[in-house]
Amino acid sequence: MTAEPTSARSQARYDAETLASLTADAAQIMARYPDPRSGLLPMLHLVQSVDGYVSRDGIMFCAEQLGMTAAEVSAVATFYTQYKRHPNGTYTVGVCTNTLCAVMGGDAIFEELSEHLGVGHDETTEDGAITLERVECNAACDYAPVVMVNWEFFDNQTPESAAALTDRLRLGEDVAPTRGASSVCSFKRMSRVLAGFPDGRADEGETAGAPTLAGLRLARAASGSVGEGDPSSPGAPSASVVPPSAPARPGQPGDEGSPSPTSGAASASGPAAGRAPGTGEEQQEAEVPPETGAERSSAERKPAATGDESPGRSPSGGKADPEPERKGRDDD
């Protein structure tokens, strides 16, 4: 594993400048791990940040860096859905159509986008702007139905909001996710971050939406504290609970252990302590102004106005051909 610029004999046909910069980045990636081979996944994200997909050259490059064969690299690259085998659009628009989001409206959103954009799953619009995907559960079920754009969260979507979102993306406008950076970056920039090279945007965006804070706000209301993270206001309603902000007990761990749990033993013991009900019925509205998401919890929302309002049909259907594959064909 050499950190030196790969020689001119490299079979990856990058120009000298690109190759030098890729090689320097690859060296940084490999240095993060005790075994350089662990750097393969980030390295594949890295070549996507240059080529917009895992190209033949990208595979050759990774193979040379890691002393693997191209077949071995391809075997890995084709296993993971985020590695694209054809040039990706500037934006991956992923509609969650796993059960919960599908039932809550994800199916309708996908249908709308597919018709609106004139493409199906894993296809790219003619202008190269958008690759449409069905995606699996993205761990945002409390914001269903969810759309991801370059893996940033667009919560509580409707067919109309999602179609408008894609219109703005195609016009090249800045679009802000509901929870994430202040605007969505391109597929290539995203891929560079996923390769482990920060873009300095971690502090952008809000902390959490209303569902994330739903329980906490109830607990605050119940304990009479409306503190915004005030360390002196215990969030836990029960006196038996020491909130993390409280000074640590001078406890001596290790004496009198609780019975060690044995899995499989079925016990129907109820909750440890019955406490007074302290349910505040209040929930503060989210003050987060999401770009396209709903401003309140999705289930509270009134049904959106219906009516067929698909404004501009996409120019045409048809297969994606965002950019000519540069050289050779996709290795598989």
Binding site: R37, E136, A208, A268, P271, E281
Partner: protein, 449 residues
């Protein structure tokens, strides 16, 4: 009535909650300071005494897992945090890492010290860009403050932390597949034994723990194991994040002691969607057999949920009301398992494929009389015969839904189609483009790997 109990969530509403300064103001890193004054073995014992069990679904006692590491032999030992949250319905670790990544980082530091690890890894799924940004920044902040790196807080303990982004594969949530993936390979599970504790990452002793498990460690150390075990039930101690989603008035994260019931949680969350009744729900993600209103009062702890015929899993409570077609729900989950099956073992690879085919034709109204039994037979040939838990999990929604809603399957077959209007279960009104086979519109869905 069980009260909510903000512990991990306690700082989430703070201004810039993800910053180290915010976390420190709330008492953060007291646990690490204390831990560094203790013997590593005493820390392992403290976590054993707390009764903390794995929050990633399996519920294995965390301290015991640490205790399985062989005695130090001078070579490296690793901590790998499983942040590959992908189980359908599960949405707790992602908001935790977005809102309070330092909670996890402190847990990583304490755990690493306890098990003698000087290089820890956080394997986060690649499909959550901003979470990855926040984790990278959190590690940098913690290192700059002396909580990570060389000579942590002057203790002589060194710790490097690498945050690693995956690339889209549910199977990598299985701990040995995760390790293969982290080694730069296809994410396929390994034969066990040897367990990761003996031969894990790079065949070295390795602890693999879920995000929430590790994030629970600082509190246990700071406040003592008794503080933790006083919460929850005797065998399922402590606090946990309960994630309500679906047809519920206020979906979201509700942190409570283990043992709270769905009825209590629904009360807190404003109940099932107005005008509708609860039809079925998952206690811990799609891989756990579904429940109905009959289990509203089942304490959500490992033992009680197990005794009721399901698993606590990840406390991913997906709520479906009376508008939801159970065949459609299960068919879609099955698409997911077929898509995510890694292909290593035949029962899962072929079995999920055939489950998907049969469910599609039932849902589309083309089912045959024998198809429901065929589904059960297929499940019989997967459950217990697959290489890892993915195959077992794929059978859970099928077998449990047939048991509870066989009539509904039959109605699809007898009626030649789905009797439900999919738009009724959505949160907005729309006209399905393909009434007969709504779920299949737009093609057969995602392909395999």
């Amino acid at each position: 009535m069980t009260d909510l109990l903000p512990v991990l969530t306690d700082t989430w509403d703070a201004e810039r909650s993800w910053k180290l300064a915010t976390y420190e103001e709330a008492g953060g890193y007291a646990g690490l300071r204390k831990a560094l004054t203790m013997e590593p073995g005493d820390l392992v014992q403290a976590v054993k005494d707390s009764g903390l069990r794995g929050r990633g679904g399996a519920g294995f006692p965390t301290g015991m897992k640490w205790g399985f590491l062989p005695p130090p032999d001078g070579g490296p030992r690793y901590l790998v945090v499983n942040a590959d949250e992908s189980e359908p319905g599960t949405c707790k670790d992602i908001p935790l890492m977005l809102a309070s990544p330092q909670h996890l980082i402190e847990g990583v530091a304490i755990t690493s010290y306890a098990i003698g690890c000087d290089h820890a890894f956080i394997y986060v799924r690649g499909e959550v860009l901003h979470v990855y940004r926040r984790l990278l920044a959190a590690v940098t902040e913690a290192r700059d403050a002396g909580y990570l790196g060389t000579d942590v807080l002057g203790s002589g303990f060194d710790l490097e932390v690498t945050v690693h982004a995956g690339a889209g594969a549910y199977i990598c949530g299985e701990e040995t597949a995760l390790l293969d993936s982290l080694e730069g390979k296809r994410g396929q599970p390994r034969l066990k034994p040897p367990f990761p504790a003996v031969a894990g990452l790079y065949a070295r002793p390795t602890v693999v723990n879920n995000v929430e498990s590790i994030a629970s460690v600082p509190g246990i150390v700071a406040h003592g194991p008794d503080w933790f075990s006083a919460m929850g039930t005797e065998k399922s101690s402590g606090h946990g994040l309960f994630s309500l989603s679906g047809h519920v008035t206020r979906p979201g994260q509700y942190e409570a002691p283990l043992g709270i019931t769905l009825r209590e949680l629904l009360d807190l969350a404003g109940g099932v969607r107005a005008g509708h009744e609860l039809k079925f729900w998952t206690p811990g993600g799609s891989s756990t057999p579904i429940f109905t209103a009959d289990q509203l009062d089942t304490p959500l702890d490992y033992e009680s949920v197990g005794a009721a015929g399901s698993m606590l899993g990840t406390r991913a409570l997906q709520i479906f009301d009376d508008t939801t077609c159970v065949v459609r729900a299960v068919s879609r989950w099955t698409d997911f398992y077929a898509h995510e099956s890694c292909g290593k073992c035949t029962p899962c690879r072929e079995g999920t494929y055939w489950l998907k085919q049969v469910l599609h034709r039932i849902e589309a109204g083309d089912g045959e009389e024998r198809d429901v039994d065929l589904l059960l037979d297929l499940c019989d040939n997967i459950l217990g015969r697959a290489f890892c838990a993915l195959g077992d999990g794929a059978t859970s929604p099928v077998t449990s839904s047939v048991e509870l809603f066989r009539d509904e399957y039959q109605a699809h077959i007898d009626g030649g189609g789905c009797p439900f209007d999919p738009s009724a279960s959505a949160l907005f009104e729309y006209t399905p483009r393909n009434r007969r086979t709504p779920a299949l519109a737009g093609g057969a869905g995602v392909g395999g790997h």
